[in-house]
Symmetry: C2
C-alpha cells in the first residue's frame, strides 16, 4: 500500500503541519471574528481532561472556585501603572450597551487581578480571613494581531488563581506550590517534561514582582510557556487597598499571587507529541483511549464480529477505560484507522473473524505503530498496562528530545549556531541587563525563558563580553 | 434563649429576605459594574453541583461539549429578524479593540444561535452528519435594567445546547427530551417540582417556533422559569443556510433546537426552600452535607472530643459524604450553628463529652429543626438515610406548597382574588389572542407560564367573555 501523506511533514513546514493537524483532528477552527476560535468537541474534551486534574489539585490544596465579572471598569486597570501599560494595547472595549452609550467604557477582562483585588479588599478584614485562596475558570480576551489556534487567540479559556496572604513568605510558598502543580500536570498528564524557574524582568507579568513559569520544548525546537505563577508582592494590594488587621492589632497590606494556565496547553500537546500522521494523545488525557474497529468481508461474519466487539467494548467501559466502538457502516476499516490515527487515539483494537477464532484482538499503538495480538482473556488489564506504557513512553520520548535539544553556548557564535542548527534550549551567560537581553532577542529571536542563576561574576557575557551576572535558559519561543 | 432574627422574615418582605440570604450565605454579591455579580465560593460550588448532573445527562444522551466565541459580528444577529428584534436592545457592543476602532461592531453574545448556526452550516454536509448534538457552558450578557442576584443579571453563566436534525419529528423529540432532563434535574436534584409545557407566542424565544419551559413556584407565590427548550424549526437553518444532502440526493434544510438553563437555578433553590433562618440546601446539591461541631468547655475534654470528631469526619468522607469538621478555635459553637444554618447545610452533628460517653452524636436537621441522637455505630449509613430523607422531605414540602397554591379561576374577579390572595398558579380560560394576554398582564401582572390546552371552544374567556380557545397556567413571575 502506497504511504499516504495526509499532512505536510513536520520537517518541511512545522507551523503548517500544526494548523493542518489541529483542523483535521477536529480540535478547533477559526471563528468568524478574526483571532477567535471555535473549540470543537474533540478539542474541548481534551481541554476538559486537562481541567479535571488541575481542578482536583487546586481543591486539594485548599482553593475554592468562584466567578468574577467579564466586564471591568476602565478605571480599575488604571490603578496599577505597570498593569495598565501592559494590557491597555490588547483590550477590547465595550462602549455601548442596552441601546445607550456608557458613561464609563468597560474593558472585557484580559485577566482579573484588578476586579478581584477590588473584591478582596472588601472580603478581607482580619488575619483570620487569610490566606484567601480563590480560583476561577473563565474566558479572557487579549486582542491578537498574529493569531494561531490555541497558541495565540484573542479569546481563550483559562483558569486564574488569585490568593492573598499575611506575609511575603506565604505568598512565595503559594506561588511555588502552584508552579509545582502546573509542572506535575504537564509531566504526569500531558506527558510533557518542563523546565521551571523565574522569568527575567522583561518577561515578568505587568504588575508582578516575580513571575515563575514552566516551559516545554516543542518538536520544532521552540519553547512554549505552558503556565505562569506570579508573586505580585504588595503591588495590587497597594493599588486596591487589600489590608488586614493582624493579631498585633495593626492594619497591614496583604501579599497577593496569581497563576494561570490556558487552552494553550491543548496546542502544547499537539506540538510535543504529534507526528506526520496526526495527533498522538497521552492516554491520561485522551477523550478516547481505545478505538475498536470490527472487520469483516462477508455478511456471515458480521453478527459474530460485531457481537464480540460490543462485548469487549462493554468490558473495557466497565473497567473505566474510555472506549469507542466504531461500528459505522459504509465506512471502510482503512478509513476508520486513518480517522482514529489522526485524532490521536492511543490504542486501536482490530477485530476480525480469524481473531475471534484465535481468542484475541490485534492492538495497534498510536505512538510506535507496534502491532500485537492481545488475548480476550484479561483484556482490560492488558490494555490498562499498555496505556500506562504509552503514557510513560511519550513522556520519555519527549524528555529525550528535550535533553538532546538542550545545549550550553560559551560564545555568541556558538549560541547562534545552536539556535540555527538543532534548535531547542541554549544555556548561556549574559550580563543581566535589559539592553543585552533585548539585543540578543533582536539578533537571534531568542528570549530568556528562565533565569537559571544570578551571581556577581559568573564569567563573560556571550554578547557584550562584560562580566556575566546571570546564567539563563534561552530559546526561540511561541 | 431569645430567638434571633437574622433576616427580614419572608412574610414581611420576600425580595429583601432573598437579598439578605444570598449575601449572608456567601452565595454572591454585586460586582462593581452595575447588573453584574460576583459568585462567591459557596454559590459557585452550588452551581458546580447543579452543572454536574446536567453535564452527565447531556453526555449520556449523546451531546458533546464545545466552545464558541464570545464576540459575534453585529451582522449575524441581523440575519434572523425576530432574533435581532428580541435581543438588540439588550446587547453590549465592543466598538474598540487593540487600540483601534473596529470596522464592524462586535456584540457580546446574549445567546449563540447565530454564531453556532454559522458554524453548523460549515460542519453539516450529509445526512450522516446528523443529528449534530452540541452543548456549551459559557457566560452571556444581556443588559439588565432591574438586576437581581442570580435571577436577573447582566452577565450570567449557563449552558446552551444547540442541535441540528434531518426532520421536524426528530427536532421536536430532542426539544422535549431536553425539557425532560431539565425537569428531572429540577425535581431530583434541586428538589423543586416543576410544571412543564409550551409557551404562548408572546413568551416564545425570538426566532423559535415553539418554546417549552419548566416553571417552578417560589415561596412568595411567584413563578420562576427555570429552563427553556426551543424548537427553532427551520428559521435559523434558513437564515444561516444549514443544509444537508439527504439519502435521496436532495439538499434539504435542517431543523434545529436550542435549550438552556442558567445560574438563575441557584436563585430558584434559595427561593423554593429557604426559611427565615437562611438557606436550606437539598443534600444532593449541597456543597457541604454535614457540618460537625465539636463542643467542650474544659480543656480536658478537648482532645477526646476533637479526636472523635476527626475520626467521624474521616468515616463520613470515606463513605462519600461531603463533610466539614468545624474545628475553628475562638468561635463559639452557637456562632458555628448559626453559620452552617444560614448557609443551608442539611445536617449538623453536635459532639460533646457526654455524647462521647453515650457513643453517639446529636444530629440536627436543617429542614425541620429536628434533633436526635445518632449512634457512632453505623453512623455513615444512618446519615445517608437521613440525607435521603431530607432530600425527599424538601421535594414533598415544595410539592405540597405548589399544589396548595394552584387554583382554577372561572371568572376574572376570582382570577384577581386568587393572585392577590394566596398567589401561585392560576389555571384559567382565555380567548388565545395576544391582545387578551397582554391585557391580563397589564391588569394583573400575571402572564401565561404554560399553555395547558388549545381547542375550538373550551368555554368563555375570563377577560373578554369571548369563546375560549385556550386553557393556560397563569402566574406572576420573576
Amino acid at each position: 500500500m502506497a504511504a499516504k501523506r495526509p499532512f505536510t511533514p513536520r520537517s518541511e513546514d512545522f507551523p503548517r503541519w500544526y494548523q493542518e493537524v489541529v483542523q483535521a483532528a477536529d480540535l478547533a477552527e477559526n471563528a468568524p471574528v478574526r483571532g477567535c476560535m471555535v473549540i470543537k468537541p474533540h478539542g474541548y474534551a481534551l481541554w476538559e481532561n486537562i481541567q479535571s486534574p488541575l481542578d482536583r489539585l487546586f481543591k486539594e490544596t485548599g482553593h475554592q472556585n468562584a466567578y468574577f465579572p467579564l466586564l471591568i471598569p476602565q478605571s480599575f486597570l488604571d490603578k496599577e501603572a505597570d498593569h495598565v501599560e501592559g494590557f491597555a494595547p490588547e483590550v477590547a472595549v465595550v462602549t455601548h450597551a442596552g441601546g445607550k452609550k456608557l458613561e464609563e467604557p468597560l474593558v472585557v477582562r484580559p485577566t482579573s487581578e484588578t476586579v478581584i483585588g477590588h473584591m478582596f479588599a472588601k472580603w478581607i478584614q482580619s488575619h483570620r480571613d487569610l490566606p484567601l485562596l480563590i480560583n476561577q475558570w473563565a474566558n479572557v480576551l487579549r486582542w491578537e494581531m498574529r493569531p494561531r489556534l490555541f497558541l495565540r487567540t484573542t479569546e481563550f479559556l483559562w483558569q486564574e488563581g488569585h490568593t492573598a496572604h499575611a506575609n511575603a513568605e506565604e505568598a512565595e510558598e503559594e506561588t511555588l506550590r502552584m508552579l509545582d502543580i502546573y509542572a506535575q500536570v504537564a509531566e504526569e498528564y500531558l506527558a510533557i517534561p518542563v523546565r521551571r524557574g523565574v522569568k527575567s524582568r522583561i518577561e515578568t507579568f505587568p504588575g508582578a514582582e516575580r513571575t515563575y513559569c514552566i516551559e516545554g520544548l516543542m518538536q520544532d525546537g521552540k519553547a512554549l510557556q505552558m503556565g505562569t505563577s506570579h508573586n505580585l508582592g504588595q503591588n495590587f494590594a497597594d493599588a486596591f487597598d487589600i489590608r488586614f488587621q493582624d493579631a498585633d492589632g495593626e492594619r497591614k497590606l496583604c501579599h497577593t499571587t496569581s497563576w494561570g494556565v490556558s487552552t494553550r496547553l491543548v496546542g502544547a500537546v499537539v506540538m510535543a507529541h504529534g507526528d506526520d500522521r496526526g495527533l498522538i494523545l497521552p492516554p491520561r488525557i485522551a477523550p478516547i483511549q481505545v478505538a475498536i474497529v470490527p472487520i469483516f468481508r462477508k455478511d456471515d461474519d458480521k453478527a459474530a464480529v460485531l457481537g464480540k466487539a460490543v462485548e469487549l467494548a462493554a468490558a473495557l467501559k466497565d473497567a473505566g477505560i474510555l472506549v469507542r466502538l466504531d461500528d459505522r457502516e459504509q465506512i471502510k476499516p482503512g478509513a476508520k484507522f486513518f480517522e482514529w490515527e489522526k485524532k490521536g487515539v492511543p490504542l486501536r483494537l482490530e477485530l476480525g473473524p480469524r481473531d475471534l477464532e484465535a481468542g484475541q484482538a490485534v492492538a495497534v499503538r498510536r505512538d510506535t505503530g507496534d502491532k500485537a495480538p492481545i488475548a480476550f482473556e484479561g483484556l482490560a488489564d492488558t490494555i490498562r498496562r499498555e496505556l500506562d506504557d504509552i503514557q510513560k513512553g511519550l513522556f520519555e520520548r519527549a524528555t529525550r528530545f528535550r535533553d538532546e535539544h538542550t545545549h550550553q553556548a560559551s560564545s555568541f557564535d556558538e549560541f547562534v549556531q545552536l539556535l540555527e542548527g538543532p534548535g531547542g534550549f541554549v544555556e548561556a551567560l549574559c550580563d543581566g541587563t535589559d539592553e543585552t537581553e533585548r539585543a540578543i532577542k533582536e539578533k537571534t529571536k531568542a528570549t530568556i525563558r528562565i533565569v537559571l542563576e544570578d551571581g556577581d561574576d559568573l564569567g563573560a557575557c556571550i554578547l557584550t563580553g562584560a562580566t556575566a551576572t546571570r546564567r539563563a535558559l534561552f530559546a526561540r519561543a511561541y
